[in-house]
């Protein structure tokens, strides 16, 4: 198996369509922008107030006041636009973001997501995550399948939720799962794993798609 983060980011990138407005969370989701297929133009939204975000700025070429939502210096794509926080979240909450990609502490088979606090331990706050998960047309969780062996894909989240029932898809290094009314369906599996491996690493009830495909992450 190659680089786990790269595999996940590559697979998520295949979900994005030409012209999509996309919000990528900090960390692993940010890598997705590096693997968007050729011929597909996506417009990255940065919740601190612009669309048309480009890659991270090179050292020494930082532009004043041009940072992403994590405070990192970035660049602009042609056609970018700035706005205030109310418009930024009108875009997010109003259904104008086609896809949001976020990490998770826990996600469950009903599409519940927990990614903003561990009571008594770590309380960074929800920032824009609750609005993003409530408002984006498609919510993709991109994360490593387990936390060092402990399942993160559960029957039911135990941590405080970021949003209830909003997750559409989970992409990990082991495979792709989609949330449906019938439950959580494994639709793709990485060639290095068996269905039994995935089930063993997943606490949720996993429905195996009759059309189970190999996860394509070569290029």
């Amino acid at each position: 198996m190659g680089n786990v983060r790269e595999i996940i980011a590559k697979r998520v990138a295949q979900e994005l369509k030409d012209g999509d407005v996309v919000n990528l969370g900090i960390g692993l989701p940010t890598l997705v922008a590096n693997y968007v297929p050729e011929g597909i133009d996506i417009i990255l939204q940065s919740e601190n107030g612009f669309v048309g975000m480009g890659p991270q700025a090179e050292a020494g070429k930082e532009i004043k006041d041009l940072v992403n939502a994590g405070g990192v210096s970035v660049t602009l794509q042609p056609g970018a636009a700035f706005f205030d926080s109310a418009m930024s979240f009108a875009i997010i909450r109003g259904g104008h973001v086609d896809a949001t990609v976020l990490g998770a502490l826990q996600v469950d088979q009903k599409g519940n997501l927990a990614n903003w606090m561990i009571p008594g331990k770590m309380v960074p706050g929800m920032g824009g995550a609750m609005d993003l998960v409530s408002g984006a047309k498609k919510v993709i969780v991109a994360m490593e399948h387990t936390a060092k062996g402990t399942p993160k894909i559960l029957k039911e989240c135990t941590l405080p939720l970021t949003a209830a029932g909003e997750v559409d898809m989970i992409v990990t290094e082991m495979g792709v799962m989609v949330v449906t009314k019938e439950g959580l369906i494994l639709t793709e599996i990485h060639p290095d794993y068996t269905v039994e491996d995935v089930k063993a690493a997943t606490e949720a009830d996993l429905i195996i798609s009759p059309d189970l495909k190999m996860m394509s992450v070569s290029d």
């Binding site: 926080s85 706050g125 920032g127 408002g135």
Partner: protein
Amino acid sequence: MDKVRTIKEAMEHIKDGMTVMVGGFLGTGTPEKFIDYLIEKNVKDLTIIGNDTGFPDRGIGRLIVNKQAKKVIVSHIGTNPETGRQMHAGELEVVLIPQGTLAEQIRAAGAGLGGVITPTGVGTIVEEGKQKIEINGKTYLVELPIRADVALIKGAKVDKKGNIYYHHAARNFNPLMAMAADLVIVEAEELVEVGEIHPNDVMTPGIFVDMIVGGEA
């Protein structure tokens, strides 16, 4: 009406125990000279409203490190470990609000609205204690307006009537806060004569601004 003040004249209006909104997002668009002055003056027991508590050495975070806040109302504290430490030690009350809700609550206060009705937070602990409304089969939370005694904002270019032009991502919460406080003080990176900002480029109309502190003042 002359709105231009020295920083000392403007900051004298900020007293212990006040509720203060501070513009910026992780320090970008935050009036750092005002923060410098408030630290020097050591104004205490503030309730601070902002997107986040910045970093320990940047933005609102510096007021937290200097223990000048009794309460913060923000969407995120993760980039400033001192906020978490004071919260867990019981020294600082932290109210966390989803970022889009916070923006609309501030806007609502400035726009004369009785609140906002948002789906964000439904089914999470954010809904605890709040009124819920069902509209066309969908559940929403009622979130109330948020006002402050003073708003401290920052503009890249400000003319002497208080018209503001913001640069890049430094706009963020500044235009919203400029509408939502009894006293609005803007820190101008560059203070210019009236007419030097074209009316098409004005992002916050000067009518919202009470006091302007120029770049050098």
